[in-house]
């Protein structure tokens, strides 16, 4: 396995949904080169998509001039991804439970719930510029005999 130790990745994008593809592709490359399993890559990628979608939609209100910053740190057995937006911030306590019967048929409100299922830790804080800073963490199980040559 190629070690991911000490790798850092930092990405700044304008607030357009299509930029989610780039963020996922880039982080996926780093995870694959680091020998993460297909499954780990899939679920981390989905959590990341939800996080960046929220930053674009609810944080930056889709203003393409506003930026989303993604900082990923790859330790040997853990990945941490930090997502910052330029929005007004929000209180995660106020988020409703998508499993409550009255919410089951709603068209939205499942993003954060999915993130918590896919990752080991999901933390919201207020970012340095007043926007939302979200941290996603997941422990990685090394693939012992991963052949990541192409």
């Amino acid at each position: 396995m190629t070690s991911t130790a000490g790798r850092e990745l930092h990405l700044t994008i304008g607030s357009r949904f299509e930029n989610i593809e780039l963020v996922q592709a880039v982080v996926d490359d780093a995870l694959r080169e680091g020998g993460a399993t297909e499954d780990a890559r899939h679920w981390i990628g989905l959590a990341l998509r939800e996080a960046v979608a929220n930053a674009i939609k609810h944080g930056n209100l889709q203003d393409p001039e506003k930026q989303v910053e993604i900082q990923a740190n790859f330790a040997p057995e853990e990945v941490e991804i930090r997502i910052d937006d330029e929005g007004a911030g929000f209180d995660p306590q106020g988020v409703v439970d998508p499993l409550a019967p009255e919410n089951l048929f709603r068209a939205s409100g499942r993003g954060i719930f999915y993130m918590r299922k896919f990752m080991d830790e999901v933390e919201f804080e207020s970012g340095p510029s007043g926007g939302t800073r979200l941290r996603l963490r997941k422990r990685l199980v090394p693939v012992t005999n991963a052949t990541n040559e192409r």
């Binding site: 357009r16 998509r49 939800e50 719930f113 999915y114």
Partner: protein
């Protein structure tokens, strides 16, 4: 993302391919569903076999499609769900809301 529409024994089948995700795939799915069901009660079957990624917006569109079709007295069912898509619906307890089939023939006969 691509959607192909077919008919089989009076059931409209939408074959969905690619990413059902925010900003593009979700919108395309919504439009395809609205266009497929028309005004009256519809028999709609969505084939998810070629879906590679679905996010919470895509899931939201499936739920919206379900309520729209059901409210008009129609039926919406799902077929050919890849394991990772099925996981996604399971996690938010939607798998029990939808009628899900393994094969298209079974699904079509059930309407």
């Amino acid at each position: 993302m691509k959607i192909t529409k077919r008919e089989k024994n009076g059931v409209t089948i939408l074959e969905v391919e690619g990413k059902v995700t925010i900003g593009k795939g979700d919108v395309v799915l919504r439009e395809a569903v609205l266009q497929a069901i028309g005004e009256g009660p519809a028999k709609l079957l969505i084939n998810l076999g070629e879906v590679t990624t679905i996010d919470s917006s895509g899931v939201g569109e499936l739920v919206s499609a379900y309520t729209t079709v059901t409210n008009r007295g129609g039926k919406l069912k799902l077929v050919n769900m890849p394991p990772k898509v099925s996981d996604i619906l399971q996690i938010t307890q939607l798998i029990t809301v939808f009628e899900v089939f393994e094969t298209e023939d079974e699904a079509v006969q059930s309407f």
